[in-house]
């Protein structure tokens, strides 16, 4: 059996785990990350991509609000290429409590959030699609953040600095010697083989799946999963984040992101044993669309592209079953203190916005255990892509000869790394995905450098297949390139295509009506009717 060694094993390739890996790497700690699927494929990649200003928490949870605005400012520096500092609005509808407006302004002031009251007229000029009947508006420094790029940049930096990342590798159990962890046993799903990794410290950053990970070490850690669903609208119908000025509730936020807009979010308690097979319920879609329409009336006329859901991990600190001990904030557990298991740390709770802070807290504890005295640097050293801030026009000039839209999209997604992707060779900048302007060069770069194991992973790195057609033509175009640029046989590439279409369909079927149904009929026609892709496995047997 293959074995590896390190000082630290990080379990979980969400934002937090990847943040811990990077923090360790920057402090010279030898760390290795294990993720059972792809990076950012769990809760991290299933939120609304809001770069919180903290205003949404300000009234009820001052601590979270303060953390948010602090991290908001840091992320804008170290990860600018994953962020659009759009700004945001809190709008009061005629049916809402008008007093919440003042409470929000007051609370933001306390939290240090630069919120200001603006006139309705001003609000409508900032966001012309906004409901014109609003009573009042507040401007806040909200923005949007791409969780896939953020997580990928953390991984890329760690790999470039010598750390190891194993995706599509599932931890089977934590190995203990008396009360000390000594490593993990895991299964590499791609290679189809088991491996053992030895390390004296294990970080459980697997979010809601942490309950299961702890159980393999004989520790009870109770999670209370809560499902949040969202729908994606096939146009960027707003340019700034639009929040409803009321106590946070279902369907009260619309976040623009890349080429689309997203209506969030619902919140429902779900049983732990359903976390791997979440589905968006029809009534959640009803709520999101009808409440979304109150914020931006155009919602009812736009096509719904897909619906998806994520699961928030709320954790019971003491292990008791009643709700009293459930924490909504960051939970850092040293299992030596809690369960007398040395070397095991759980980091959970929190939110995407505070991933870096959570990683810092965790790595401080790791460093202490290892006797490492180096300070955290993650708030200072920019992520790959955000090294230098060069304007869009300068980049277009630099790459003159390549269409502006291609340079713009690549730069938007990869920041400074655009130089590792684009070249003046014509094949390099030929488009594969017209919806999202993804070039062959970008796909090649991602397959070779960004831990891409399949077309689903590729989508998270490049946005291929995320546009209106949901991968109708580009999925096939990309599949073949896995054979050319990656270590895939043609048969494996064909299977990737099938898996990708199945994965995309999960998000399409809850919203299968209107143009979405037409598009699906077309896609089905191509891949089943024209290609006979569904017959491929039958042919093999």
């Amino acid at each position: 059996m293959k074995t590896l060694e390190a000082e630290v094993i990080v379990i979980g390739g969400g934002a937090t785990g990847c943040g811990v890996l990077r923090d360790c790497t920057l402090r010279g700690i030898d760390a290795i990350l294990i993720e059972k699927n792809d990076i950012a494929s769990g809760t991290t990649g299933r939120n609304h991509g809001l770069l919180h200003s903290g205003a949404r928490y300000a009234v009820r949870d001052l601590e979270s609000a303060t953390e948010c605005i602090k991290e908001n400012r840091i992320l804008k520096k170290i990860a600018w290429h994953c962020i659009e500092p759009t700004g945001g609005l809190f709008i009061t509808l005629p049916e809402d409590d008008p007093n919440y407006h003042n409470r929000l302004l007051e609370a933001c002031k306390f939290a240090g959030i630069d919120a200001k009251e603006i006139s309705v007229k001003k609000a409508l000029s900032i966001e012309p699609n906004c409901n014109p009947n609003i009573l009042s508006a507040v401007w806040v420094p909200d923005g949007t953040i791409d969780p896939f790029r953020l997580t990928s940049a953390n991984i890329l930096d760690s790999i470039e600095r010598g750390s190891k990342v194993c995706t599509h590798t599932e931890v089977e159990r934590i190995m203990l010697k008396q009360n000390q962890v000594i490593g993990v046993q895991c299964y590499d799903k791609t290679a189809g083989e088991y491996l053992e990794i030895y390390a004296p410290i294990i970080v459980n950053a697997s979010g809601v799946w942490g309950q299961h990970i702890c159980k393999t070490a004989g520790i009870e850690l109770k999670m209370f999963p809560s499902k949040g669903s969202m729908v994606i609208i096939d146009y960027r119908i707003n340019n700034v984040v639009v929040n409803r000025c009321r106590v946070p509730s279902d369907g009260d936020i619309i976040v623009p992101g890349d080429t689309v807009s997203l209506i969030g979010t619902t919140s429902r308690k779900i049983p732990y044993d359903t976390i791997d097979e979440l589905v968006v319920d029809d009534d959640e879609i009803d709520v999101l669309l009808s409440d979304g329409e109150k914020l931006i009336p155009n919602v009812s006329r736009a096509r719904v592209l897909r619906a998806y859901c994520g699961v928030r991990p709320l954790i019971a600190v003491s292990g008791e079953m009643d709700g009293r001990d459930i924490s909504r904030g960051v939970v850092l557990i040293d299992h030596k203190e809690r369960d007398n298991v040395q070397g095991l740390i759980t980091i959970a709770g929190g939110k995407l916005m505070t991933y870096r802070l959570m990683a810092e807290m965790t790595t401080d504890l790791i460093a202490k255990k290892l006797g490492n005295s180096k300070r955290c640097l993650t708030h200072k050293i920019p992520l790959p892509g955000s090294e230098k801030r060069v304007g869009y026009t300068k980049k277009i000039k630099y790459f003159s000869g390549i269409p502006n839209s291609v340079v713009g999209s690549t730069h938007y997604r990869h920041g400074e790394r655009v130089h590792n992707i684009l070249s003046l060779k014509k094949r390099n900048y030929g488009l594969l995905c017209e919806c999202e302007m993804v070039t062959l060069g970008e796909v090649e770069y991602a397959i070779k450098n960004l831990k891409v194991n399949d077309i689903v992973d590729l989508r998270r790195r490049t946005r291929i297949g995320m546009g209106p057609c949901q991968g109708e033509l580009c999925a096939y175009r990309a599949a073949g390139l896995f054979t050319e640029f990656g270590d895939f046989t043609p048969d494996e590439s064909t299977k990737l295509l099938r898996d990708f279409l199945e994965e995309r369909f999960k998000g399409v079927k809850p919203v299968l009506w209107g143009d979405g149904l037409r598009e699906f009929e077309f896609t089905y026609w191509i891949y089943q009717g024209l290609f006979g892709l569904g017959l491929v496995e039958d042919n093999n047997t």
Binding site: G514, E521, F531
Partner: protein, 431 residues
């Protein structure tokens, strides 16, 4: 102006009906709102490829069985003798335009797909199936699958790997090759963003063929069979195919591609010019939006471009296709037929419209939804009354799944032919 017959929709069903009506001397118009599904098709005519997820080799026997068991199926409404007559008619009409369709007698044959899978079909164009292809396929020693540099929509190595798994090619060496087109002149188009039509245009320039043939010959090496994406021209494809084969001294075979489908466009062109030749009126780029109906008779229809001017005919055929083509419309929790508000067969609950997986073995429910008709292809309105001078044909009809059964074009041809026949009989009887 009053027509004998107005056909709404210019897919295979509408064009077949139009040709038959015009040929019988009826004053016929076809209104087309845009490109038909032919542009996205394989360009072969599928009659009946699958029954219960099993490949059908003898389609006519399978049709006998089907018509005996599924009362509502469009094939049952047509009956086997009419289906055979319709196929023959379609083949002959295409032939008159220089588009030759080959069949395997009573049997289906198979065509190779972009992925390298084999799909059962009934008629194919000469570059896809003919007697020579059939006889030589079996004894093949080496096949080379080629693609042209810059064409993104074909990965020969994927097709080669898939094809070599088939028992038929067990003793055959199948290789993939990427070749450079010598004729790719810089006309402003990005040379790595070609679609099938862009390459087809290069093939259509007479001077290019010899050079292309020489490059293909070189790439083929010692292979005796060349498989390439279907880009051998949209208009003069027969000459191109002949020239390529004679100069390379190889069999050259076309594989239907991702849209746009050159093979489908050839059929589209052939049918349209045949219709025009017979004096039919083809109205392109307009959409029928509503109809004026009294006492179960359609008096007139109105289009997008002429919302105030009625178009009148004695009889009408509705062949507007399914959801994709706009013949059926779905909304959040409801479905309807937009022009005549006809009675539909469908499940009211949205979550019944689809199955859990993309490639589910039962396919998807919505593909079977559509307009309900009687034996004569008359649709029902929402009050369950027959609309007397309206007939339906093609994908707008309910109770069959064109993809799962592999019968889309067969149903379109048969029902289009039958609808036209009903009208011809009716109007001749009246006069």
């Amino acid at each position: 102006m009053r027509y004998d017959c107005i056909i709404i929709g210019a897919g295979v069903a509408g064009l077949t009906a139009g040709i038959r009506c015009a040929k019988e001397g009826l004053h016929t118009a076809i209104i087309s709102s845009g490109m038909s599904a032919l542009h996205f098709s394989s360009g072969s005519i599928d009659l009946l490829g699958y029954r219960d997820n099993t490949v059908v080799y003898k389609p006519f026997e399978a049709i006998d069985q089907l018509t005996g068991t599924i009362a509502q199926h469009p094939y049952t409404k047509c009956g086997k003798p009419l289906i055979i007559e319709a196929l023959l008619f379609f083949k002959q009409e295409c032939e008159l335009q220089g588009l030759f369709l080959f069949d395997n007698g009573n049997l289906n044959h198979f065509h190779v797909t972009t992925l390298g899978t084999l799909k059962p079909t009934y008629f194919s164009q000469r570059s896809v199936f003919n007697e020579e292809v059939y006889s030589r396929f079996k004894a093949m020693k080496k096949i080379v699958i080629i693609n042209f540099e810059g064409y993104r929509d074909f990965h020969p190595q994927l097709a080669a790997a898939q094809l070599s798994k088939h028992a038929l090619f067990a003793n055959c060496d199948i290789v993939a090759k990427q070749i450079e087109m010598p004729q790719l002149q810089d006309d402003g188009k990005h040379p790595h963003e070609f679609r099938s039509v862009d390459i087809a245009r290069i093939f259509e320039k007479e001077d290019n063929i010899e050079k292309i043939a020489d490059v293909i010959r070189l790439a083929a090496d010692d292979a005796d069979f060349v498989v390439m994406p279907a880009v051998m021209g949209i208009t003069n494809f027969n000459q191109i195919h002949n020239k390529l084969q004679s100069r390379t001294r190889l069999l050259v075979y076309e594989v239907p591609t991702l849209p746009p489908s050159i093979l489908g466009m050839r059929i589209d062109n052939a049918l349209k010019s045949r219709f025009a030749e017979l004096g039919g009126v083809y109205i392109a780029g307009d959409k029928v939006v509503r109809a004026d109906i009294t006492d179960d008779v359609v008096n007139a229809i109105y289009t997008n471009s002429h919302p105030e001017n009625p178009m009148e005919a004695q009889c009408y055929i509705l062949s507007t296709g399914s959801f994709f083509s706009g013949g059926l419309v779905s909304e959040f929790n409801n479905m309807y037929e937009p022009i005549f508000k006809l009675k539909l067969h469908h499940e009211p609950e949205r979550n019944k419209w689809y199955n859990q997986n993309f490639f589910h073995s039962d396919s998807h429910g919505f593909l079977q939804y559509g307009v309900l008709t009687d034996e004569s292809l008359h649709p029902y309105d929402s009050n369950n009354n027959i609309i007397q001078n309206l007939y339906c044909s093609g994908a707008i009809m309910a109770h069959y799944n064109p993809i799962k059964e592999g019968c889309g074009s067969g149903v379109a041809i048969s029902t289009g032919y039958k609808a036209a026949g009903q009208i011809v009989n009716l109007l001749k009887h009246m006069s």
